[in-house]
């Protein structure tokens, strides 16, 4: 069965410090990978998604970047964190979409990031 691992679970970082959140998926090949953010009291905002190694699509221009160095690894980074980067970050995967195949998104347990 497929599993998704996301770490760390919680993180407190000062403003201006770098960020690296990692996510790995097991039990599937060539998944679509996603980073979402849930800000306090708000919905799930799509930040980045990737359909393959080195292929990153950005939904919202901001202080963050994403990379996919391996098929089942997705990394969210920032060079200098802002207070507004605080939130709950979620990694997710889905089956690679080919044509009309529909499959749901599966989430990790999230990282609570607090920028102080």
């Amino acid at each position: 069965s497929q599993t998704i691992h996301q770490w760390p679970a919680t993180l407190v970082q000062p403003v201006g410090s770098p960020l690296s959140l990692e996510c790995t998926v097991e039990g599937t090949s060539n998944p679509n990978l996603y980073w979402y953010r849930q800000a306090a009291g708000r919905g799930l905002q799509l930040l980045f998604y990737s359909v393959g190694i080195g292929q990153i699509s950005s939904e919202v221009p901001q202080n963050l970047s994403a990379s996919r160095p391996q098929d089942r690894q997705f990394i969210l980074s920032s060079k200098k964190l802002l207070l507004s980067d605080s939130g709950f970050y979620l990694c997710a995967w889905s089956v690679f979409h080919l044509g009309a195949i529909n499959s749901p998104l599966h989430f990790g347990n999230g990282t609570r990031l607090t920028v102080t």
């Binding site: 996301q6 679509n32 996603y34 979402y36 708000r42 919905g43 799930l44 905002q45 799509l46 998604y49 359909v51 699509s57 939904e59 709950f88 979620l90 997710a92 889905s94 979409h97 044509g99 009309a100 529909n102 749901p104 998104l105 599966h106 989430f107 990790g108 347990n109 999230g110 609570r112």
Partner: protein
């Protein structure tokens, strides 16, 4: 621009009664619709989905209804149980697209 909207931030229902959660969308290219359940400090869990070729999909106590002309979907939970208390998100994705767009969530409280 919020393409998927959940206009009710919260809902309270008595145990055993029906819970109805609503969701509206604006993008006519959306082809596949999903509902997720989320507990605090956890990732959302997939509940049920529906393709645009259907108007109803049922799985146990959960039924999703899709009204394409109104660009509206709803999730019915019957009977509601205290363990159903959580935040529910609806989501949508376009045909041949890879993006999943989520609403802002509805917090459901089932009162024993």
């Amino acid at each position: 621009d919020q393409q998927v909207k959940q206009n009710s931030p919260s809902l309270s229902v008595q145990e055993g009664r029906i819970s109805i959660l609503n969701c509206d969308y604006t993008n006519s290219m959306f082809d596949y619709f999903l509902w997720y359940k989320k507990y605090p400090a956890e990732g959302p869990t997939f509940l049920i989905s529906i393709s645009s070729i259907k108007d109803k999909n049922e799985d146990g106590r959960f039924t999703v209804f899709l009204n394409k002309s109104a660009k509206h979907l709803s999730l019915h939970i019957v009977p509601s149980q205290p363990g159903d208390s959580a935040v529910y998100f609806c989501a949508a994705t376009p045909r041949d697209g890879n993006q999943f767009y989520f609403g802002t969530g509805t917090s459901l409280t089932v009162i024993p």
